[in-house]
Symmetry: C2
Subunit: 254 residues, 2 copies
């Protein structure tokens, strides 16, 4: 029997600690191919590169592991892996381990979740792993048993069609277990910091902090992280607001 | 009574025909502020600029219309408009008119819909308008009565919380009316074109074509466009796959 094939990408770059830790954690369960950006692409969402060409560079190859770097976005990496690297579709697409969480509305902004949504659009069971630890040298060893269990289960059972997983880990060395969550819908506040350059011209840095939408609601991923749980949020591709359709028909077309 | 305030952005750039046509169509209903990218940013999704600073440049100001260009992404444009341009929250956020449709799964990739989702995250009724006409000089005059009707209705009635609209127009001069749709979930195929540069190195251009997931299903936006209808797809921020939660609990945590 062939070993499972696991494609991994991220938005922190092919040489980030998180992606290399993840590859090492899942190598017992399959052959791993990493196709990841040349450098950091945080906040890439599902952006694609259409105005410029993209290049691909082989970094290394050893039994059970190939690593490629791509000049494009995280989503480009998945697309080009399917087109030009993999000789058969993978059994699993993984994003991460992201240095920084992607819970709540950050699924919309996250390049790591861009990887995962792209894998899901290609009909492959896909999972994003992110940690609240932002440090480039973060110790992710506490994540190992959870990641290994989730990967083994998904390799065995698959995922429902058009559904992928957004798995986020709190900042601590021991977790209170896993919780199945819904995404918190909150707000980013104070999003820009204004500065003046040496020539007197204004410029802006994106920054800010996230305020939970439902801080006391224990069904959200944000609550789970704040209370020491591993937050598993199932995410669906279909964004249609079905429950709004009838009302909108009357309001817009009546 | 104050006139409504309408914020418009896009992913084709502040000087694209589509955004200027849209501004002109909606000026009868409010004061318009355009904050749009300096140039084309197609396929930007909800990407944000975090690794570099962003700059903002006033292009013009006249009664009822201000235009700014921003070096960042479409999503950055909305964020910086709220932070540094608008003196009060807008009554409406519009994306478009995009030169090229954003129906079906393209809501995930679209910078125009990135604008709209960002407006929705900021609790403002938000609508994306896109046309299947890709030509930079496309004639969008057939869209005018539809856009004006939709904008007037949404200014009057608002939209449900956490729901925005993705409105797509077919390539033709007369439409068969509007249809409330769900998003088609299909596939992008042949996504890369390989070339070799003068130095013998390989590079890739993103390309491809979209294959409808449910081509004969008249409930999808793709079907509506293919049959001459204006496709209105309500889109929700919450991507939680609620219906998958129980099964996944058993499969992952049992």
């Amino acid at each position: 029997m062939n070993r499972p094939l696991i494609l991994i990408s991220n938005d922190d770059g092919y040489d980030a600690k998180g992606i290399n830790d993840l590859a090492e954690m899942v190598r017992p369960y399959g052959d791993v191919v990493i196709v990841a950006p040349e450098g950091g692409r945080s906040g890439s969402a599902m952006a694609m590169t259409s105005a410029e060409p993209v290049r691909l560079r082989k970094i290394k190859e050893e039994p059970g592991l190939q690593v490629y770097a791509c000049t494009g976005t995280p989503c480009d990496c998945v697309k080009i892996a399917f087109h030009s690297v993999l000789t058969s579709p993978p059994d699993l697409v993984l994003g991460g381990i992201n240095h920084g969480d992607n819970a709540a509305i950050n699924v919309h902004y996250s390049g790591t979740m861009g990887v995962v949504l792209e894998g899901c659009l290609k009909h492959i069971p896909s999972i994003g792993f992110s940690s609240c630890k932002r440090d480039p040298n973060a110790d992710f060893s506490a994540l190992r048993p959870y990641i290994q269990k989730i990967v083994q289960r998904v390799l065995a059972d698959g995922l429902p069609p058009q559904v992928c997983l957004n798995v986020n880990f709190p900042v601590r060395e021991e977790f209170n277990g896993m919780r199945m969550c819904r995404m918190d819908v909150g707000n980013w506040l104070k999003e820009w910091e204004e500065r003046t350059d040496p020539r007197g011209r204004q410029y802006f840095w994106l920054t800010g902090y996230y305020e939970a939408g439902q801080p006391d609601d224990d069904s959200t991923d944000r609550w789970a992280l704040d209370h020491g749980y591993v937050a598993i949020t199932p995410v669906q591709l279909d964004m249609t607001a079905y429950s709004a359709m009838e009302g909108l028909k009357t309001s817009l077309m009546g």
